[in-house]
Symmetry: none
Subunit: 203 residues, 2 copies
DNA sequence: CGTCTCCCTGTCCTCGAGTACGATGCGCCG
DNA sequence: CGGCGCATCGTACTCGAGGACAGGGAGACG
């Protein structure tokens, strides 16, 4: 199967070298400026830090989107920027320094005509329309945990204190600490905040 | 790179044969019933027409989601069912008779820990929130916070310690505490874990 | 029976988080 | 000028979290 030309639009040589790993899947070409995007290109990975990048509200974005599938890559991604990028007509939004595997996946999805946003943005959208995903966003976190450890971890990740959890489960605060220590050990985190971020799919 | 075991859960032999194309990327195993999903599996493609499938509101779904990444495959997909599936804890929703390439992509994305929904559902979500999110470009949670408070809150919500934040911003740990106290007060939360949950849209 | 895992509980101890008092300096605005 | 919001920093204090030692009981399995 033959892939279309992929344009890497960045002013940063370091970033460009990272992105060149994509050359194993797509024929690639480098662009240094937004205005210099090749006319015939169908696929582009665009650095958010490009000097001459128009603001995401600019009408040039949707115009360009008509003929070019764009992935917006930010070095400091946030949900607001991501939504703005998608609304501007980009087909994908990701971290500029994502792993080559991740980048490949994003470009792959976008090339196939789908949209790609990270799970945090997607979950934000779901919550916005009242369909919050009750289940943990990062399935698999509880794989090696015992039943009791999962219960404790779930509550801790929602902000309950050890005393709260103890009361809710009808056990001692000491036992809660015991279970949590096991959870931290198995999941490789240091405290309940890191646990929460892991359970809810952030970081 | 070694892939985890992929469970194909369907009662339909014809569908199972189609899905077996995935065997080129993942070691696969067949399951005929929802109750018969292998205990150790991490990844499953689940046919919406399985005879003993619980309704998507059933608590067994989110429980299962804790240890298993599930793709819900419907032979007659619609946006409502897709949202329900995601809400139930599934990590992906797609057409049961999608092309092998498409299925591979979906499973690939889900395996990497992301969520997958099709273009139509995503676009519908965007439209649903698009009208509301024109004016408030501000993150929302940061509306009443000062610039500095936002910076501190953002880092605290990602799990950085006060000392980390102080070092990163070139200020004293005492000042970080000061800003955080103001943040807690303005956002009506008690500690940094509650702040993190609020910032990331959980609770 | 011995071993194993899981669940439960206890007492210290350390450390970071958060609050309660305070303080100084800066820029803006009526 | 005087008030006000903002950013900065100091000391002392309380309190919960988490680790470092423990231990006992129930059930599974060879």
């Amino acid at each position: 199967m033959t892939h279309p030309l992929l344009v890497l639009a960045t002013h940063d040589d370091h970033l460009a070298r990272r992105w060149h790993a994509l050359g194993e899947r797509w024929p690639i070409v480098r662009a240094n400026r937004f205005d210099a995007l090749p006319a015939g290109a169908r696929l582009a990975l665009i650095d958010a830090d490009l000097p001459d990048l128009p603001p995401l509200g600019d009408p040039r974005w949707p115009r360009l989107a008509a003929s070019l599938r764009m992935v917006f890559a930010s070095s400091r991604p946030n949900d607001g920027e991501g939504l703005a990028a998608i609304e501007a007509g980009c087909s994908g939004y990701c971290h500029a320094f994502a792993s080559p595997e991740q980048l490949t996946q994003v470009v792959d999805v976008v090339e196939s005509g789908e949209l790609w946003v990270g799970r945090t943005i997607l979950n934000r959208l779901l919550r916005a329309v009242g369909h919050a995903s009750k289940a943990p966003v990062a399935p698999g976190w509880a794989a090696r945990l015992t039943e009791r450890e999962q219960q404790v971890a779930q509550r801790a990740a929602l902000g309950e204190s050890n005393a709260d959890i103890a009361a809710a489960l009808g056990i001692t605060e000491r036992t809660v600490k015991s279970h949590l220590s096991a959870v931290f050990e198995k999941m490789g985190v240091a405290d309940r905040l890191q646990l929460a971020l892991r359970v809810h799919g952030i970081k």
